[in-house]
């Protein structure tokens, strides 16, 4: 039907059974029917199979093959029925522009502006007061919606449980001694009493030697030369990018790598970020060893650990 043809009006004669629009798409409808029938039988068998697989249990592969196979076959069968055996037309329907007439549009605007104007423009005071009240309601309702959720951050983002003389312990609470790690070894440690804490996690590294007979190599940034002890250095394990644990220590290159977004920190020069998105060095924890040979912190961190935030100076 062309663009300017008149719209259909009045009753249509019934279509004859041999109308070409009603004929199957398949050249050989019997064959198409046979294929669809076989597919549907396979589907039926598949679902019975799923029942058996479920009853036997413990085999997701068989469950998938039977259920998926059943769905696939039955779906194929009914699709083939629809596509090859049902009328394909082409049929058409008219598309009407659904916008209203100009008069209806005008009436709509008038209903809003004139009826609304009649009451609102005369009673500006009431309109204003209602707006004021509902705005206040909207704002105060945000309090329980948002403020009730949790505490203010306060100083928690700046704090860790590392204090002066905190004892370094492993995840299972065992104190860390100066001879615990071989050269090149790493260990995740916590302050005693706070094992497993996200904010307090520290990576303890015993730095490598250049050769088997050389003294342990420690290059500290200026001002922190006494922050390590016997080749041990300790850094916050929270990446300064997004807080992932910086868990990959590459001994050969003396780098700590964050597996999340591949920030690379140079262990030998105070864990400054060498590459990747991390903006700041990992904060260093100053270490000391007590007379019994246990590792302890000289002090807490001198800055907030982890990723950046607005209140961080």
């Amino acid at each position: 039907m062309s663009d300017d043809a008149p719209r259909l009006e009045g009753p249509l004669p019934p279509a004859a059974l041999d109308d070409p629009h009603l004929q199957p798409y398949a050249k050989h409808p019997e064959r198409a029917q046979a294929v669809a029938a076989v597919a549907m039988v396979v589907g039926f068998v598949g679902f019975i199979g799923f029942g058996v697989a479920y009853w036997v249990g413990d085999n997701p592969q068989w469950e998938a093959v039977t259920l998926g196979g059943g769905l696939l076959a039955l779906g194929f069968g009914v699709t083939a029925w629809g596509k090859y055996l049902m009328p394909q037309g082409p049929f058409e329907e008219e598309r009407h522009e659904f916008h209203s007439t100009e008069a209806e549009r005008e009436a709509m605007t008038a209903a809003v502006t004139e009826r609304g104007g009649m009451v609102l423009k005369r009673r500006r005071l009431l309109g204003g007061l209602f707006a004021l009240g509902s705005t206040a309601m909207g704002i105060v309702l945000l309090f329980p919606l948002i403020r009730s959720l949790g505490p203010k951050p306060g100083t928690t983002l700046f704090e860790t449980n590392w204090r002066k003389n905190s004892q370094l312990v492993t995840l299972d609470g065992r104190p860390v001694r100066v001879d615990d790690l071989a050269v090149g070894g790493v260990l995740t440690v916590f302050p005693k009493g706070h094992t497993g804490s996200s904010q307090d996690q520290v990576i303890l590294i015993r730095l490598a030697q250049l050769g088997p007979l050389d003294p342990p190599l420690v290059i500290h940034p200026p001002g922190r030369t006494d922050w390590g002890v016997q080749g041990y250095v300790a850094y916050s394990k929270m990446c300064t990018h997004l807080g992932c644990p910086v868990g990959l220590y590459q001994e050969q290159t003396q780098q700590l790598v964050c597996p999340c977004h591949q920030s690379i920190f140079n262990v030998q020069s105070g864990c400054i970020p060498e590459f990747g998105p991390a903006p700041r060095p990992l904060p260093q924890l100053p270490l000391t060893a007590d007379s019994a040979g246990n590792l302890r912190s000289q002090n807490g961190f001198n800055q907030a650990v982890g990723p950046g935030f607005w209140e961080r100076p």
Binding site: P60, A64, L67, V78, G82, K83, P153, W310
Partner: protein
């Protein structure tokens, strides 16, 4: 007999609901035949599977960070103290019959849901189906894409395994990066500084199973309702105009085909769910904030955000006693916000540019709109580049090249590649438009060699779609003479007028 029963029931319903007129029109609704119209159906049907498998999972999953001792049938975990969320996720995989199939099917369905939305959206974009009067439906669709991504993230975070827990940690830090309010939003949402006081799993749960799905269902109803009201678009072709729709009717042809398609989409999801392992949480172990795994990638639809975070330079802004972590805020908040806003306003940008205020029910061929196609190709290239950038570590390992080199490649490629791709796409479109007869199916020529060695050429029989012998479209007939014409004698033939 059955016909009389149907007639009686429909009359009973029509007396009360007045369904006859609208119902008939609905059964006559015409669906254009084109494979690309099935992409949205894949999204719809994978959503159906998501709801069904999700209801199953919700009967067994326990949204709680409370610590329990695992006693299930997965031996390596027995006796360990884990969260109830993790324990119940492992248990519903191994100790609930068909549980693993349902859990993996749910995960696959989510990946397919978002994949089909993305491809469907590309189809709608490149063919110009978003133009007047369908701008609303485009926006509804983009909103569903955003909600789908959000719900995917919430969902894969629920098992409390090592990989997803790392994702939650990253999400917290992203919230924290928002200037002024970030720290507050973070501690509000998590009930304290990370990892909070254990409320995040129940909160994610209620968002994942109730609030976001409710929004999605509402938007889906609007999407389909608008589709029926505004009717389908269609490609240009014989007898197809701006004022009609040509195709097959809802009942019975489309119903049969689409039911089959629902079954086949579910089939693929369940086959994947049982045969292709996805998210083996028992191998990752429970999340601990101090543990991490190598080569951790999020689900594919989060990849573009992860990639953007990876290739961003470390530009933290510090001044006046404050910090703005631009290296996080720009790629993880501003970048996706910008992309989604471009999506939403595109129909209005385009109509302002073309000054085209007409209704458009016939679809464009992408090559006929070189500028739009080039813009779309540039956007896709950008998104693919940041997507691939989310596997810098894997690529560096696989190709045995330095990680730093891979990263620099992507930093340059996200800027250069979209420009090159857009220029190439623009040129190709114009070349194709200039070439005559392109895109039309060529009738094969059959060359025959006779027994005497002579060659002759004949044209092959026309195939459907060749435009030969194609019937004119007619309105869907309501009444059909069920007596075969050779038996029709005039008397006894039903002649009821429409």
């Amino acid at each position: 007999m059955i016909d009389e029963t149907i007639d009686r029931s429909l009359r009973w319903l029509d007396d009360r609901l007045g369904i006859a007129k609208g119902g008939r029109t609905f059964l006559d609704k015409i669906f254009p035949d084109h494979w690309s119209f099935m992409l949205g159906e894949i999204a719809l049907y994978s959503f159906v599977v998501l709801l069904a498998t999700g209801v199953f999972l919700s009967l067994y999953y326990i949204p709680s960070a409370h610590e329990v001792v695992y006693h299930g049938s997965y031996v390596p975990l027995r006796g360990q103290r884990v969260s109830e969320a993790y324990s119940s996720s492992v248990s519903l995989s191994f100790d609930v019959k068909s549980g693993l199939l349902m859990r993996q099917a749910h995960h696959w369905a989510a990946d397919i849901f978002l994949g089909s939305i993305a491809v469907h959206m590309a189809r709608v974009f490149f063919t110009g189906a978003f133009r007047k009067p369908r701008e609303f439906n485009w926006i509804v669709g983009v909103s569903m894409l955003i909600l789908g991504i959000v719900n995917g993230f919430l969902g894969y975070s629920l098992p409390d395994d090592l990989v997803s827990g790392t994702g939650i940690r990253i999400a917290y830090s992203i919230i924290e990066s928002i200037p002024l309010v970030g720290s507050y939003l973070g501690t509000f949402l998590f009930g304290g500084n990370y990892p909070g006081n254990g409320v995040i799993i129940p909160r994610f749960y209620i968002l994942h199973v109730l609030i976001v799905p409710l929004l999605l269902i509402g938007l889906l109803a609007a999407h389909l309702g608008l589709l029926v009201k505004q009717k389908h678009t269609q490609f240009k072709g014989k007898g197809k105009t701006e004022h009609n729709v040509v195709g097959t009717p809802m009942f019975p042809t489309f119903i049969a085909k689409t039911t089959g398609f629902l079954f086949m989409t579910s089939a693929v999801i369940f086959l994947l769910g049982g045969l292709a392992q996805i998210n083996p949480i028992w191998q990752f172990g429970q999340y601990e904030p101090y543990q991490i795994s190598y080569a951790v990638q999020p689900d594919w639809y989060m990849g573009w955000l992860d990639g953007a975070l990876r290739i961003m330079p470390s530009w933290e802004w510090v001044g006046w006693g404050h910090t703005i972590p631009l290296e996080v805020f720009l790629p993880a908040v501003i970048f996706p916000g910008l992309i989604f806003n471009i999506f939403i306003v595109w129909p209005f940008i385009e109509s302002r540019h073309t000054k085209d205020l007409a209704y458009h029910n016939l679809l464009d061929r992408p090559r006929d709109r070189p500028l739009r196609t080039a813009a779309g190709v540039a956007m896709l290239t950008l998104l693919f580049m940041v997507f691939f950038a989310s596997s810098t570590d894997v690529l560096a390992n696989f190709f045995q090249v330095p990680l730093v080199g891979v990263l620099w490649f992507f930093r340059i490629a996200v800027i250069v590649a979209p420009v090159i791709a857009a220029v190439v796409a623009y040129k190709i479109c114009n070349e194709m438009r200039a070439a005559e007869g392109i895109g039309k199916r060529k009738r094969p020529q059959i060359v025959t060699r006779s027994s005497t060695g002579e060659y002759s050429t004949t044209e092959a029989e026309p195939r459907p779609g060749d435009g030969v012998d194609e019937l004119d479209a007619i309105p869907v007939p309501t009444y059909i003479d069920l007596v075969p014409p050779e038996l029709a004698t005039g008397a006894g033939v039903r002649r009821v007028m429409r």
